[in-house]
Amino acid sequence: MQSAVIVFPASNCDRDAATALEKITGHKPLMVWHEETTLPKVDFVVIPGGFSYGDYLRSGAIAARSPIVRDIIKKAGNGLPVAGFCNGFQILTEAGLLPGALMRNKGLRFVCRPQKLQVVNKKTMFTSGYKDSEEITIPIAHFDGNYYADEDTLRKLRKSGQILFKYIDNPNGSLNDIAGICNKAGNVLGMMPHPERAVDPLHGGTDGIALFKSVLEAVR
């Protein structure tokens, strides 16, 4: 599987995503600069975490309007698997690939800690490697992780199984404890936690490995 990691100005977690992808898929991902207008031919795209554009204006707002994202939107529409972690999730909502918005944490403070999550729907290409309702621990590190969508949207997400991960002990006020969702077609994932920071025993936990392995399986 050939993957790609998109790099925006101040995407801090691009290297982390690349390290995790190389470790698990055995192939170095392509690092794609935000100014490219076309994605190279890849099987999986990761939009990494960080502080693209300093989170200025709104987290992920400016990155979402970059040339490369336009092509990602097109290709995702044709089924290309895309995963956005943390800032990546913010960029996906700003780009309209996922519904809702990520707002300032309810506690008004940046939170970095290992976070307990529940895998709500294991029937997707991102979660097939987990058990039903499995409790996992993945680090979070964010200031604007408070997921919001109107009642109508939330109902639709619940009904169509688009909620993939929920917080156990909600750290940021997200409605319905939503930590990660996918689009209706199930090929675009957005989640606030950082699975790429849970792939090495020295990280203190390896619950992130199953996510990447699930994608690897699906793409095979």
Partner: protein, 82 residues
């Protein structure tokens, strides 16, 4: 020409920053404050004399970038400068 844009959260969207502001003011003795909403103001300098065109352009800017219309509303004020 100058455009002054006020961007705020849609009514009904929880605003923890606004809530904290209102509480802090109350703690300071300003007990007439019943609610606070926090937004932002963006000022743009526009190199044009056409106020109507400016309004239309800024509308597009708001929809396309400056406001996240999922959770934010905006108000535009066009100011003619000497």
């Amino acid at each position: 020409m100058k455009a002054i844009i006020h961007i705020g959260l849609k009514p009904g969207v929880l605003d923890p920053q606004g809530r904290t502001i209102a509480r802090s003011l109350a703690h300071m003795g300003f007990d007439s404050v019943t609610n606070a909403r926090q937004g932002k103001t963006i000022e743009l300098n526009l190199d044009t004399e056409d106020a109507e065109k400016a309004q239309l352009d800024v509308e597009k800017m708001c929809k396309q970038l400056l406001a996240n219309t999922v959770i934010e509303d905006y108000q535009i004020e066009i100011v003619e400068q000497d």
